[in-house]
């Protein structure tokens, strides 16, 4: 029987509605929390930080955080930093494409097949990051 991880890891994805990279952030986050590390990776709605929701703020401050941003404006990372916290693993989704150029994401409302595959690959790769953060390691 495996040990229960010591911590949850908060995942915050860009809410971008206008760009493919935002859609990729959302899909990668969903892959991570639903398939790759369910129960350990915990998704929180980014807009809750915008309105300074007490419960969301507490989760972010008490747990390690991975941010997935779709553009250099880095809304997810900056929303955490606005709380006075440094993000343990800030990422921009274009990094995933740079590492896997055969998978070119397209689409906004719905990612193409390559985009969906890229989200799966990225989430798989992030699994070990979640594990390390959950055990209290620094990245």
């Amino acid at each position: 029987m495996g040990e229960t991880p010591s911590k949850q890891v908060v995942v915050l994805a860009c809410s971008g509605i206008g760009k493919t990279w935002g859609a990729l952030a959302r899909e990668t986050a969903l892959e991570l929390v639903e398939r790759v590390r369910p129960g350990v990776a915990k998704l929180i709605c980014l807009p809750l930080l915008v309105i300074n929701d007490t419960e969301a703020r507490r989760s972010v401050l008490e747990h390690p955080v991975i941010t997935l941003d779709g553009c250099p404006k880095a809304c997810a990372r900056k929303s955490v930093e606005a709380l006075g916290k440094k993000v343990e693993q800030p990422l921009e989704t274009i990094q995933f494409y740079t590492a896997h150029r055969a998978l070119k994401p397209e689409g906004v409302a719905q990612l193409n097949e390559a985009g969906l595959k890229l989200a799966q690959v990225a989430a798989n790769e992030l699994g070990s990051t979640v594990d390390r953060l959950a055990e209290g390691e620094k990245i």
């Binding site: 915050l12 994805a13 860009c14 809410s15 971008g16 509605i17 206008g18 935002g22 959302r26 899909e27 986050a29 969903l30 639903e34 998704l43 929180i44 709605c45 980014l46 807009p47 809750l48 930080l49 915008v50 309105i51 929701d53 404006k73 880095a74 809304c75 997810a76 900056k78 929303s79 606005a82 906004v108 409302a109």
Partner: protein
């Protein structure tokens, strides 16, 4: 010369952790891309914090319609906090209840039932856009176009 078209800002909550957030995102995209293209502009909610004056300024100068997936009403509250009161604040549970539709339970991979919910919400947003455009034109007629 055509009549200038008022631009309406659509502020979706897009909540990542809620099925209604996905409905919100998809419905807003339908309005932006298919139902009312050219009349609507998307405003990314987190840009109110991370962005600059551009996002806040647009929402302050143009009528906005907020679309929220839950009672926390992040989009409506943030828009009011950072830019000004939205002309309409829509709530997805209310819209689906009005249409006797169940709340979706999946975050993605939507089927026919969820797609029907997306369409119902999109239609409601489109109606809100029409109302906002009509109100803007009435004001312009009364006070002169800005």
């Amino acid at each position: 010369m055509g009549i200038p078209v008022a631009k309406i800002g659509i502020v979706p909550c897009s909540g990542e952790a809620l099925p209604a957030g996905t409905v919100c995102r998809l419905a807003c995209r339908q309005v932006l891309d298919k139902l009312r293209p050219g009349q609507t502009v998307a405003i990314c909610l987190p840009l109110f914090i991370a962005g600059g004056e551009e996002e806040r300024g647009f929402a302050a100068r143009h009528p906005t319609i907020t679309v929220d997936g839950c009672e926390k009403r992040c989009a409506a509250k943030a828009t009011e906090m950072f830019s000004g009161k939205p002309v309409q604040a829509l709530l997805i549970p209310d819209i689906l209840a009005k249409h006797s539709m169940p709340m979706p339970t999946r975050l993605r991979s939507f089927g026919a039932e969820e797609e029907a919910a997306v369409r119902a919400v999109a239609d409601e947003i489109a109606q809100a856009v029409d109302t906002a455009v009509a109100q803007t034109r009435t004001l312009e007629n009364q006070h002169g176009a800005v």
